[in-house]
Amino acid sequence: MSANDIAIIGAGMTQWGKWGRNFAEYGVAAAREALADAGIPWQDITFVSGGATVRCGYPGYVAGATIAQALGWQGAEVNTSYAACASGSQALAAARTKILAGHCDVALVVGADTTPKGFLAPAKGYRPEDPDWVRFYLGITNPTYFALYARRRMALYGDTQEDFAAVKVKNAAIGSQNPRARYTKTFTADDVANSAMVADPLRLMDICATSDGGAALIVASLDYAKKIGKGDAPRVAAISTVTPTFASGTVEMPDIATDSAAAAGIEAINYRSQIPLKAYEEAGIGPEDIDLAEVYDLSTALELDWIEDLKLCEPGQAAHLLRAGDTAVGGKIPVNASGGLACFGEAVPAQALAQVCELTWQLRGEAGPRQVQGANVGITANQGLFGHGSSVIVKR
């Protein structure tokens, strides 16, 4: 037990879907469920920390204040965090800091978004100073990057398209048991193989969709949790929101080139693998202590990258774990027991919190048919634009 832990006393999440309603509606629904789960009134919340909505990768609407107003102004302090895919984790980190500093006993952390209509595309005009504009002008879309990473795995480690399809089959099977998932249909390897090629080697069913959804947590000081009889609630043991260290050797959205590692003393690094290091250090545990992981499977192949980046196995070994069934619920180290982005789709500011919601339910033993037996320590991981990424460790 660390003096730097905070308790997760409530979790709430809407079903993911595509309804086009105002994001605040999803945020309010998730927040109310989390408050009911915690068993405390909204009026007791003294800090509201929201993940900004994301529009084409950039900050969209002011979420914290909008959702606080929608729940009814009650005088709480409020924050909005933008950190691309890590926005939810950064909002959680803001609440943790406030609680550990003694400035707040109990906080609402919330993220919600609605998918904008039409293609994700940059503003029009001739704007070569904007890397996002440049890459779209060249015809380089998000799946391009996922596919480059996937092909690299195939060349380096001998992964196959059948392996990637097996990730989808695994996640769809468990996600079909999740009432909050958007997609609850199960798929076979043939279904994946028969879906349209988008960016070779990735097919339509290898790539996640964008969705509407909301997720919320009620987090509190350990003293507050004990006071309301929730001293044994799962705890946030670590949050990492580190940037890469120069030079990042993996080409990332929206760039068309990597950093250069030509200067003396500079080495090319893999950012994804740096993100969990601080989390492990902060929690005082190692990969061998992890019972389950929720990772950002923007593509099926990326789930395999994450398994290695979290050091749950050696580089190149993730597909072996997959083939052995080790990453399925019932296996040695279940990954994406929620069904992952494959079954949810991305609702960016909600997603990092949704991962923590899943760990919370798993650690409380309330995940029903998705339950990972003996789940005591879980880790999340995600990465997005502009050097933002995060990893959260939850334990009990």
Binding site: F119, L120, A121, P122, K124, G125, P128, W133, V134, R135, F136, Y137, L138, G139, I140, T141, P143, T144, A147, L148, Y149, A150, R151, R152, A155, L156, A196, M197, V198, A199, D200, P201, L202, T245, F246, A247, G249, T250, V251, I256, A257, T258, D259, S260, A261, A262, A263, A264, G265, I266, A268
Partner: protein, 148 residues
């Protein structure tokens, strides 16, 4: 469609030489630590150990090795200008040894992913990105290095 060579112009100004035989991407190199950047950087160096404000324009290596590759099977959204009908194209990520960096680009038609293999030597060429009433817009692309 304009075919007059006088009507050719760069799709992005100042990012590459218009030398048809040996084109180069134009990047920057930090005068102090030697860090390269593409597109060119000025004002500050991204190397955390370097506080330089002086940079020189450099021609980047026009040969490298294929780090990875893919293709675009669906028509990308604007500002991409698609031919009608849309024709899928391959995309390469090429590692430059001297610069220790990876640069993306389209692969020249009619090459497809079947013509590519991770680790193969690649070279930079100029090709048409799209055409408009004012002529052809020229961009850099990658292709497997010409074999002698």
């Amino acid at each position: 469609m304009a075919t007059d060579s006088a009507a050719r112009s760069p799709a992005i100004e100042g990012w590459y030489t218009l030398d048809d035989i040996n084109p180069h991407l134009l990047g920057s190199r930090c005068d102090k630590c030697g860090t390269y950047c593409f597109p060119a950087q000025s004002g500050y160096c991204r190397n955390p150990h370097c506080d330089s404000t002086e940079f020189s324009e450099v021609k980047l290596s026009r040969r490298g090795t294929l780090w990875s590759y893919t293709n675009a099977c669906y028509q990308p959204p604007e500002p991409f200008v698609a031919p009608d009908p849309f024709v899928p194209f391959a995309i390469a990520a090429v590692h430059l040894e001297r610069e220790q960096m990876v640069v993306l680009g389209q692969v020249v038609a009619p090459l497809t992913v079947d013509d590519l293999e991770v680790g193969m030597p690649m070279e930079l060429v100029l090709d048409t990105l799209h055409s408009d009433p004012n002529g052809d817009k020229i961009i850099w692309k990658w292709q497997p290095e010409a074999r002698a």
